[in-house]
Symmetry: C2
Subunit: 77 residues, 2 copies
């Protein structure tokens, strides 16, 4: 099964949502990307349509923005 | 396993997110509630902390607001 990608930036809203997503999907079904620690993937996230974090990009390319932790502008700083 | 509850109101954003959530979690893991058709559950959704639809309430009671379709005020009309 193709994995989803969960983008976050370490904010409290992000961490809480990360736990929920792993509980729901299972850790094997989702790659976790911390954009604060892995800034080389910010461009990839934006190209996928991620406007804010936390966000989950599904295997079919849809973006689910989950609650609101920070805008991508904040992540880029 | 306790089910999650996915609240929506039939909007295009809701329907798209519903398909994604069912793909990710599986239809056995989530109850789908259409608040436009089942208005008796609006109060339950609000008590769970749902501020807008679509939203997923996880088995541990966390609310994941997914993208934005409509506010609960819009749903109540």
């Amino acid at each position: 099964m193709a994995k989803s990608v969960f983008y976050h930036a370490g904010c409290p809203v992000c961490v809480s949502a990360e736990h929920d997503i792993i509980d729901l999907i299972g850790s094997n079904g989702v790659e976790i990307v911390h954009l604060g620690n892995d800034r080389s993937r910010i461009a990839e996230a934006e190209q996928s349509g991620v406007k804010s974090v936390p966000a989950l990009v599904t295997p079919n390319g849809n973006v689910l923005h989950i609650n609101f932790g920070a805008s991508m502008a904040d992540v880029k700083g």
